[in-house]
Amino acid sequence: MREKLWKLWRFFAWSWSPESDRESSEAITRNLWLHWFPAKVTRSAMSWSYSMWLGTAAVSLFFILTVTGVMLMFFYVPSTERAYGSIKDLEFAVSFGRVLRNQHRWAAEGMVAVVYLHMARIFFTGAYRGTRITNWIVGVVLLLATLLLSFTGYLLPWDQLALWAITVGTNIAREGPIIGETIRFVLLGGTVVDQQTLLRFYVLHVFFLPAIVWVLFAYHMWRVRKDGGLASVEVIKADRQMVEKEMPRTKSYSMFGLTPGTSVQVMSSTELEERDLVFSSPNLMRRATLIFLIIFNITLFAALLFNAPLEEAANPAITPNPAKAPWYFVWLQELVASTTVHLGPFTISGGFLGGILLPAVLLGILVIWPLLDGSARSAEGRWFAPARKRQTTVFAAITLVMIVLIIVGVYLRGPYWKIYWPGTPWPQMPTVL
């Protein structure tokens, strides 16, 4: 009996603990879920300090979000009358409902941070050159999708934060040139924030945006392989070319021996040698699993220790004072609050300048940055390469400005969006008008 159970266990788990090189390789290629990984990866790509495994952390968070999100769908009712009550039920009536919601919320906020850090890592290591530009652009879209998922997500509880975020968000859309009003009409499903609006954002949140993220994620992973792995590989390739005089041997096989042209394996094996590589199973699998478990535990502990915010039920008559966006949008709130300009008789609203134009320009610069990067290719795959010093400074400076705006917005803004230094008490405000 014990032997049978052991055999059964081996049947399912052998690919996680291969006992020979051959098993290591087959563990990847013969497994439906793992075969999109290469059988072998470079040691440098496995380094903690190079990639910091931020992409793995991001997808771990998204996996947690998908599972907890589907769980939450069993309890949440996307109706303006019942949404808030169903969140309260999750908090007080459903066993462990609060933990579920908390974990979803903290994983979401974590994902915004981790996806941004992932992008920063790519930028600081110059890992977007050559064919990797496609993946960089896909990554920017994924960052945008992450932010939209967060935005649509915190609208669903239909509390004060939700109502005023929708109101402000769709009014920013209205400031768009020519079709702004139309976009707002479609987003709201009418001209006022009501049931149609909630339903639309709900479907976006639980289906469209996650579907886009999962599809793009799959493409993102596929591209990593097509680009020959992480950019840290380029460092090895560059060294090899300098060290070795003779051309490295080119293996002549591809996966089925029939592929026209050269396959990725052939391309990379021209420069990479056995000593640069380790088997994905168990090395890559083990680290990826470790990352997932760490991330899962962090979000779970956060969920047990801290409650997800929930403001009072939505009340169109009264705007909370001050009404603050979540931290990752506060910098935008600071921008829309301070970018209205008056040019003689003309006024350009901050809703357009700070809410649409500036973010669009930032996004546009992000997308085309790899084309603007004229530094030597030897700067690729290294942290803070001296050749990219100025670029590093620009990215760090923009990030710093955003962080400063976030700190100002989160900690210093008081009633009527005025600055109150820490220690200065806020004036007593009437709670009803």
Binding site: V168, T340, S349, W417
Partner: protein, 152 residues
Amino acid sequence: MENDRRQFLRLIGKGSVAAAFVAQIGAAARAFFPNVLYEPPTRFKIKRPEDYPPGYTFDSAHRLYVVKQDDAFHVISAICTHLGCTVQYRTVEFDCPCHGSRFKLDGTVIGGPAPRPLVWFDTAVSPDGFLEVDTAVQVVRGFRFTPPKAKG
């Protein structure tokens, strides 16, 4: 010649399938533009003129301020012209809690990001003696409405 006809018929065949596909996408997109809106009316009754105290009264159901000065009325929108939060009456001015816009009590902008003054709404009195506001009709700043004295 025969080939031309064949190609033409093929083009018609493939083209009609493609056209049907595009039309269907268009139709699906069109569905997102509602034809019927179940929204509150823009023209509604508020209280009777005599029910308002002098000065500024906030109507929370309609997000507007009813202003009574002597016996004349005017109605100012409480919706900030910047990004739509509800402005608050603070004795000498209106202030917005979202981005710090500031307005004079007649709605003109005195600070913050608001691009336009607060809107004044058309005000009348209904046959049964209630003040009536139409938020679809804007009136110029300085508009005053004096309801006829209620009988009895």
